[in-house]
């Protein structure tokens, strides 16, 4: 028979029997959080297909539909399940697209920060000396400032440096850059700590003896052994990255209203607050909180499940 299905079957069995899956199965809150995160990610990926309206197509917007309440409130229209904003945009559709951008920026900046932090941490621990001192002093200074302030500054400088005509297209990259440069320190510290232990192990010595270059020792031998704790840091930081992006967008220096993230939607909704139009601001806020809370819960669970001391 085919060995491939056999192997897949084995892997699947091993996963089902693993400690990780066992602790997952035993924690109902984690299962709920996982389902919420997966649902939101799927909704974000398939937003263009499942959204009832296209919030960016100006030709379909009608001011006659503006500020409609959610469908279950008197005066609501079933076509706009969660109501509409001041320009007649469907809140549900805007929400799906907004979650898409929030999750995208969150994942991209975590990937960027992780790459940067892991490289610098490995380098600091493996090379040591002045390089180590320099990298870790920069890390010390960066971590003593609150992330939101650092992100605001990097974001502000990037906006000042870029020519105005490029700013609109580059804004998502500026955000990823700013959040990534703000959050790399924790990865670097974690990797540095475990690399300092690993680099004196015999297998590293053996690799050095057979004449491998430092770069391949770091990347192919040490890295796989220090990556575990990094995954925990990455999960927790995904929540932080999404929050920073939302805060920047809310402050008006993040995603523009033409391409809103959840933070931008909350900013837009905030302007309608005093006319009693609560649905434009409440739904994006709820989705943001739900997303961040679920990711935090998953991170907490992963940290405990991977920590051998707590078994």
């Amino acid at each position: 028979m085919s060995t491939v299905t056999q192997r897949l079957n084995d892997d699947w069995r091993r996963f089902i029997d693993s400690d990780l899956f066992y602790s997952f199965r035993r924690s109902p809150i984690t299962i709920v959080a996982f389902v919420v995160v997966v649902t939101l990610i799927l909704a974000a990926i398939f937003a263009p297909w499942i959204a009832p309206h296209d919030p960016f197509d100006v030709s379909t917007l009608s001011l006659l539909n503006s500020e409609l309440p959610p469908a279950w409130v008197a005066g609501g229209d079933p076509a706009f399940l969660l109501g509409t904003d001041g320009q007649g945009r469907d809140v549900l559709s805007a929400l799906l697209y907004g979650a898409r951008i929030s999750i995208l920026v969150g994942l991209a900046s975590v990937a960027f920060a992780m790459t940067l932090g892991v490289c610098l941490g490995l380098l600091a621990a493996y090379v040591g000396g002045t390089v180590d001192a320099l990298i870790m002093r920069i890390a010390d200074v960066m971590i003593s400032f609150p992330p939101i302030l650092v992100a605001l500054l990097i974001n502000g400088v990037a906006r000042g440096v870029l020519p105005p005509e490029m700013q609109h297209d580059a804004v998502i990259f500026v955000l990823i850059l700013a959040i990534g440069l703000t959050t790399w320190v924790q990865y670097a510290r974690t990797v540095r700590g475990s690399t300092l232990v690993e680099k004196n192990r015999e297998y590293v010595l053996a690799a050095r003896v057979i004449g491998l270059r430092s770069r391949s020792i770091m990347a192919r031998h040490i890295l796989p052994n220090v990556i575990g704790p990094i995954l925990v840091v990455a999960t927790v930081n995904l929540a932080i990255a999404i929050l920073i992006e939302a805060a920047l967008s809310f402050l008006g220096v993040g995603m523009p209203p033409t391409e809103p993230s959840l933070g931008t939607l909350i900013r837009i909704g905030n302007e309608f607050l005093f006319s009693g139009v609560w649905w434009v601001v409440i739904f994006p806020s709820a989705v943001l909180v739900l997303l961040v809370l679920s990711v935090n819960l998953l991170g907490d669970w992963l940290r405990d499940a991977l920590n051998p001391k707590l078994r």
Binding site: L153, G156, N270, V292, L293
Partner: protein, 329 residues
């Protein structure tokens, strides 16, 4: 002690110099200061005159030297947007932010410590589980969402509290305070709750963790063996030893609160430094941005240094071999 003090001060000075360098680079290289400071129809003579006056033709190290000398004297130049000295703008806004941050610190201690003690002592009561659940929510709900919800409920629906501004303020020797008028206090309530919510959670979790740890130690068991009452053991012995890290974290968090105040001030249109900074960011008003950066960094460095020294005074283990850092702190 002296060596430690000097090393700590030098470290602080180095951080401040780095920050000053970043601030200087922002001023010098982000946009053209001359274009930003002159009206649109300025002549070429005016441009060269201003260039000369700002010292932009000097070598860069000399310019940086001037920048630092001026900054030390509190001179950060003229705001591009308001055409007023940046130091005046900041001095005007400082009391509003400081009052809000101070009130938030007090509130978070007054609520956070009892909650932490309770959840540590009664680990399995339903109220503890409720506190724990609420604390997780406190970490996951962004500041601006809390603020908006409060405005929606208490300003828009119930119409109890004002949603923006500071209310009436009283001037006392150049310091404007809102604590002496009814409208000032009312205006303070929601921003302070918004700002302190995260801190309450933080302090509660910290006190709980420390308390649980301390309760397991030998001296607590000994105190119990001596037949002391629960009350004396919990509050006289256990709580006292958990408070040291709480004071440290609170000190370090003051800086974070000033930064978080940017968001809170934007939500409530609170006329503090954070709002000034946000306006500066959206208008790329670099002198204000760099002055804010230097100010906040200074507050940070001063607090961090003081906290480090307090530790040194309070914890004798650090004194024996501070160089080796064997305590793992």
């Amino acid at each position: 002690m002296i060596a430690f003090l000097i090393r700590r001060l030098l470290q602080g000075a180095l951080v401040m110099l780095t920050v000053a360098f970043i601030a200087f680079s922002m001023f010098r290289f982000v946009g053209d200061p001359v274009t930003n400071m002159l009206p649109q129809d300025a002549t070429l003579e005016q441009r060269t005159e201003l260039q000369e006056r700002l010292g932009l033709n000097d070598p860069l190290p000399l310019q940086f030297g001037h920048f630092v000398t001026n900054a030390v004297q509190g001179d950060f130049g003229i705001s591009y947007r308001n055409q007023r000295p940046v130091s005046d703008l900041i001095a005007e806004r400082l009391p509003a932010t400081m009052e809000m941050v101070f009130a938030a610190v007090v509130l978070s201690l007054v609520i956070g410590i009892p909650m932490g003690v309770y959840t540590a002592l009664r680990r399995d009561s339903w109220l503890s589980h409720l506190f724990q659940g609420v604390s997780l929510a406190g970490i996951s709900v962004p500041t601006f969402v809390t603020g908006i919800l409060l405005i929606l409920v208490f300003s828009v629906w119930l119409n109890w509290l004002p949603s923006f501004g500071r209310g009436d303020v009283v001037e006392i020797g150049g310091w404007s305070t809102g604590l002496l008028t009814v409208s000032g206090i009312k205006a303070l309530i929601m921003p302070v709750i918004t700002l302190s919510l995260f801190q309450i959670t933080l302090i509660m979790r910290l006190v709980r963790a420390e308390m649980l740890e301390v309760l397991k130690t030998d001296y607590i068991r000994f105190a119990r063996a001596r037949g002391l009452t629960n009350r004396a053991v919990h509050f006289g012995h256990a709580l006292r030893n958990t408070l040291m890290p709480v004071i440290t974290i609170t000190g370090l968090q003051i800086g974070a609160l000033i930064a978080f105040a940017i968001i809170t001030e934007t939500v409530f249109q609170w006329p503090g430094m954070g709002l000034l900074f946000m306006q500066a960011v959206s208008f790329v008003d670099i002198p204000v941005m760099s002055a804010y950066l230097v100010m906040v960094s200074l507050i940070f460095v001063v607090i961090n240094t003081i906290v480090d020294m307090l530790y040194f005074v309070v914890d004798p283990r650090l004194r024996v071999d501070a160089g080796k850092n064997t305590t793992g702190a």
